[in-house]
Symmetry: C2
Amino acid sequence: MRVTLLLAFLLVSTPFFSQTEDEKQIKSIYNKALTDGKAYDWLNYLSNQIGGRLSGSVQAQEAVDYTKGQLDSLGLDRVWLQPVMVPKWVRGVPEFAYFETKPGYTTNVPICALGGSVSTPSGGLKANIVEVQGIEELEKLGKEKIAGKIVFYNRPMEPTLINTFSAYSGCVDQRSTGAVEAAKFGAVGVIVRSMNLRLDDYPHTGNMRYGDTPVSDRIPAAAISTNGAELLSTTLKLNPDVKFYFKQNCKQLEDVQSYNVIGEITGSEFPKEVMVVGGHLDSWDLGDGSHDDGAGCVQSMDVLRLLKETGYRPKRTLRVVLFMNEENGMRGGNKYAEVARSKNENHVFALESDSGGFTPRGFSIDASDDNIKQIQGWRDLFEPYLVHMFVKGGSGADIGPLKEEGMVLAGLRPDSQRYFDHHHAENDTFEHVNKRELELGAATMASLVYLIDKYGTVTTQKIKG
Amino acid sequence: MRVTLLLAFLLVSTPFFSQTEDEKQIKSIYNKALTDGKAYDWLNYLSNQIGGRLSGSVQAQEAVDYTKGQLDSLGLDRVWLQPVMVPKWVRGVPEFAYFETKPGYTTNVPICALGGSVSTPSGGLKANIVEVQGIEELEKLGKEKIAGKIVFYNRPMEPTLINTFSAYSGCVDQRSTGAVEAAKFGAVGVIVRSMNLRLDDYPHTGNMRYGDTPVSDRIPAAAISTNGAELLSTTLKLNPDVKFYFKQNCKQLEDVQSYNVIGEITGSEFPKEVMVVGGHLDSWDLGDGSHDDGAGCVQSMDVLRLLKETGYRPKRTLRVVLFMNEENGMRGGNKYAEVARSKNENHVFALESDSGGFTPRGFSIDASDDNIKQIQGWRDLFEPYLVHMFVKGGSGADIGPLKEEGMVLAGLRPDSQRYFDHHHAENDTFEHVNKRELELGAATMASLVYLIDKYGTVTTQKIKG
């Protein structure tokens, strides 16, 4: 009788036990991250011993060597470098700019070349400047008012958007294609308001593209700090005849050899089902790339270590991938997907952290509705950690090329309020990363990987029947 | 027929319209806060023009005058100062401490006197030091091992607690009553590990109490930085015979006159039902009190302005109260409640912000279950702003004395990860407050006040039938 009762109890209470097991495993992941995390130490090295890791730079190579060495030391099943050729753009000597209200009356403003831009003539470039609120305004002004001038894109990020990434998306066209579009109207250069919600003195770089524009028609592009943009705009209202001078000697060199850094724990039951967790190892050159995306790299590395240290052996193959060249080429992400396809690898899940090392708020998920619903069903497991947001949406740039029908792609969504204060600027530095916030992000990622591995995605469940 | 249909539609859809009106009002509050908030400018003045505002100090009086002036300028119905006598404790010259492993071999460590502590003898205090993990360990050691020594309380905050305030609660007895308890065993002084989750060099002050201990039996108490505590602890393990020296000349002076600062919008329908929103104007003296609690004061002030500017006229009387002396006496909070009771004022709701100016995550609510349930029912209105946590729990120290049956007390709950990096320390300064995070907090408070005012609490609804 007692045995029967016990059996009945066990049968009835299986879901309860299972829940408790998940709760326990997730608790042990968070505890480990908060008391014995490695992410912060790794980030300290990447940021303070190596620094900014622009694709093709010596620092980028040092970061490859360092992270490979650290992954080697974790006792994973396999660690390797995946070769990829990357563009090499160099900033050259510090940029310089001023505006001139009348000959000899000049005011210096902080600028930096946009990544990928051509240089100015060696003596710099001086011309009248015309302010616009966006690319669509060029058409209205026409060649007549633009030709021979510098175009000043000054549409700010929209402060009322709670998700600051949405505000970024609403502005970044000015940076990425502003030069190409302005050149069509005869502009000789462009100055773009920094993608920053705060008023301060840091110019924020970032990628721009010339597309098919012939080399001879490429015009130089620079970012101006938000305070600089406000000052210039106010001055232009008082005196539309302001001249702007800037000088930069950045250039695009030949492509160079680089690498994605990959570590793997081979799956114990379904080794051919691959889960990826990653960030990008390259960064811009102005700061040390702590938030963008040193944080995502060290969190991803710690996901494998946290699972290992808490005694969880993944059933599926789990890879950490530190992608090279997200910032100005996406070569690493494309290469990883290309190799995966050529080897017929079955990727079932990929998770990227590339939104800063701030307090984790949740995930955005790019997957079918039933796969999203499955993950949303785990929300209660994350609530004790104040992780509450499980929304349909984008995942991450580097894992995007992996996308296939049935696959689950996800992005960690940290609190976004402070991200653009630092993004691509000189103040994206280690001291602006909080140890606990970084660790909570790593634990949140590891917990989702654990659940996906344990239960499979809806897609993998269907295939297995 | 068309009129009938329209009527039917209106009847059926009233809840929908009503919801939309709330959504619109809340959106307009957030938009106003993020594009035209005043909180950040006010905080800039409080922090950078006035600075730390210890009760009874000149700066505390300056803060009273400044905030009253700002409230006067908002065109409220009434602004006044509520007199309250406050304790005046002064730190004196900077504290100094070292430990000595053998005569002449000394290592300086950063300390600060705990608020309310007596001074050391004028030449300082030097004695052997004994480390404990908490008050309960004193009993175990007994007089024999404690008498004539300095007790070093070194139990750290628990890093695995996600809510850092829980970790604080688990440690703060060492600071508040550690001296009284150690004195019972003949200790001559106490050194307390700073209430800080991070390892750094800032000592964190905070209140301690002697209770009924006769003046002659009071021993001096100081906080040591977390790095200092670690170093001292390691050294003690190698050499238990370490001597500790510290010197501080703080003292308790006579009580002085001070004020709560109060502004009011008189209710248009139920003027006798009072809602309070507030923070505390006093702070510790080491930093400028930006997070604790300049942030809460300026957010509370902006609640009234945001409602006014978005065209919402409260039905109930809405008061902003900037309480004096939360840190070392609670005289302001007690005085406000005392006066409210003596005037038979009917307080239906009080909301305090005293947990830093970080991204708002939700509210903790101290009320009856049906009142809590009502607020939790509004959760969807807050979700677009990523405010998701509506939990039963404490509210705020200053509004606590108002508590009555049927009343709703609430505390704003911002993200807590970084709070104790700054709390009561030299680095609680303006540059560590993010403008958007502060503004989001103000908007979140204003939105709750709007909902409480519009719908009443469950208690007020019941009374009205």
